[in-house]
């Protein structure tokens, strides 16, 4: 779950990292009221490269701040609609640095990153110059304090500000742990002209799997861009991704569902959706099918089950119930294997009068052909 800059900054400020004073504005008038002297006006969208897309502007005072807010609000930046801007006091920057903590999937531990040269092109700089980025793999059972931070910074010329930077890194690690973060990044971390170490920007990504135990935090996340149907599916506890094809797909398990979509594409068809009912959601075949059938563009339905934990007889029961209630006028094709398959096949045969295919490929080919015919 991504957080916008203002929400991310509020969270690290509560945890001991200095951020510039600022206020959120949802209208040009609010921006005018928030601006006191020279300030930065920053579009609040959960996307990188905002600056290059015109989402960050420096205003000389309230007049310009109002103007910039008016042009940003309601516009689209990096594909996201701007609904609010952050109006923030200007900081005189002596030097820009980079700091981040992330959950490192390869090394299976938290990793702290630091670069003595921050700024917008840090990824390119790090790729071209390995000295530009320092990293520390953290033993999660020991943690990362000022001493570990000092050794990460060893040998770098940071003037007399090294202790403050080390303290900020240690605070950032504590915040990462405290916030169940997947990523907590400050780019740039600035040394101000007065010597203070300040987070000029901040990006916080909450671990999706931690949202269940952090509801108060998850509620402050930026809304994911989703279609109306995807939102309704999520409310029913189902993961739906709408695609632009016309073969409706219902399968169990993420891997099998992706493989089913791939097989449709392989045989020249186009899947209409990703929707899987594996794991604990195998009892949700009925609501899942209702959602798939709401797509007016689908020309046929392909049901592919290979059940383990997900019992195929239970899933087939859900499909039959939804099909009989909605009576859709499109053809359906089945391939069913795994736990409970005899009962599942018998149910589909007797209740729907449809004979499941023994080979998955045959069911996919039949569905792709049916969609082609319906398009003619």
């Amino acid at each position: 779950m991504n957080f916008e800059e203002w929400a991310s900054k509020a969270l690290i400020a509560e945890r001991g990292i200095v951020v510039p004073r600022g206020r959120i504005a949802r209208s040009p008038e609010e921006a005018k009221a928030a601006a006191r002297g020279p300030c930065a006006v920053k579009a609040q969208v959960p996307a990188g490269r905002r600056g290059k897309a015109g989402g960050v502007k420096l205003a000389s005072g309230p007049g310009e701040a109002t103007e910039f807010a008016a042009s940003m609000l309601g516009s689209e930046i990096s594909g996201c609609k701007v609904e609010k801007v952050l109006v923030e006091e200007r900081v005189d920057v002596a030097r820009e640095l980079y700091a981040a903590v992330l959950s490192d999937r390869g090394n299976r531990c938290p990793t702290v990153l630091f670069s003595p040269s921050g700024g917008i092109d840090i990824e390119e700089a790090a790729a071209s110059d390995s000295e530009a980025m320092r990293s520390c793999q953290v033993d999660i059972r020991r943690g990362f304090g000022p001493a570990e931070a000092e050794s990460l910074l060893e040998g770098l010329d940071l003037g007399d500000r090294k202790p403050e930077i080390a303290a900020a890194l240690a605070a950032l690690y504590s915040a990462y742990r405290d916030l169940d973060a997947e990523l907590l990044e400050i780019n740039p971390l600035a040394i101000a002209a007065g010597g203070e170490v300040v987070a000029l920007d901040c990006k916080f990504v909450l671990d999706d799997s931690a949202a269940a135990r952090r509801p108060e935090l998850a509620a402050r996340a930026s809304r994911e861009q989703a279609t109306e149907l995807e939102i309704r599916a999520a409310e029913a506890g189902l993961r739906l991704i709408e695609l632009d094809g016309d073969v409706g797909v219902l399968a169990n398990g993420a891997g099998l569902t992706m493989a089913t979509m791939d097989a449709i594409a392989h045989f020249g068809g186009r899947p209409a959706n990703f929707l899987e009912i594996g794991g604990d959601s195998y009892t949700k075949a009925e609501p899942a099918l209702r959602i798939i059938l709401e797509n007016p563009g689908i020309k046929c339905l392909l049901v592919n089950f290979c059940g383990a934990f997900a019992r195929t007889d239970v899933m087939a029961g859900g499909v039959v119930a939804a099909w009989k209630k909605l009576r859709p006028s499109i053809p359906a094709f089945f391939s069913v294997h795994g736990t409970g398959e005899e009962d599942a096949i018998e149910l589909i045969r007797s209740e729907l009068g449809i004979e499941p295919y023994d080979l998955m490929d045959d069911a996919v080919v039949a569905a792709v052909r049916a969609a082609e015919e319906a398009r003619r």
């Binding site: 959950s103 671990d207 999706d208 891997g255 992706m258 594996g278 290979c306 383990a308 294997h337 795994g338």
Partner: protein
Amino acid sequence: MILLGSHRILVQGVTGRQGTFWTSEMIKYGAAVVGGVNPRKAGTSHLGLPVFASAREMTGKFDVALMFVPPLSAKTAAIDACEAGAKLVICLAEHIPTHDVMEMLAGAKANGCRIAGPNTAGLVTPGQTFAGIMPAFNSRIFKAGGIGVISRSGSLGALACLNLTRSGMGQSAFFGVGGDPMIGTTTREALEMFDRDERTSAVVICGEIGGSAEEEAAEYAQGMRKPVAAFIAGRSSPPGKKMGHAGAIVDGGRGGYASKRRALESAGVPVADLPSELPALISGAGS
């Protein structure tokens, strides 16, 4: 490690609905289940098994812990099993917070224990034993033989085994590595195990988009004598979306299908366009 019939299995969360169903299937199949854990039902018996308050009470009396434990309790249960001397902990739960996973994995390392998962469907050694939520007992899907099967997904792994069995090719073992981005046993590590395993003559990898597990496995496969073939799910998936598994996402150009396929093919591992092509590819690979 590859699961053997002689491995003694302790089931954490044995008394729940799913724990009960799958444990009784495992016992019927011949798995050496030696006990269960549920702190609230310690001292009772369930499915004819003694129930303990913690794995620690069974220290030295089991080899493998199988966790039917909800995501937010998984860390405590896994560390309990590691400290009780488990050689392998099989973690089925999905949606365990990543910080907890990192603590589990650090705890396992400190105790010389291996974790399979999280978000794995388990391990099967056809004809001998199984631990997890795979239909080992379905003879159309699983059959004893010489092919090692590694899969991030349970459902796709079952489909791969179904295709192999249908072609008369049995499996030495199935190893579910799990669909999470951070897991205790990677595809590469499972491949190394099958390479060392005498009963395994060839290996099938069922990968997915997201991460770099397949690229890392390809590096190892390059130097292997045993034939390896692969299928990678997600070729037609849109970028930037989590495809059901937390680990299955193409993010900023990383984790895409093309890079995985290229890495495997240049390591001499043929990649199937369809799961049904795996049997032909594995018989042709390495020859």
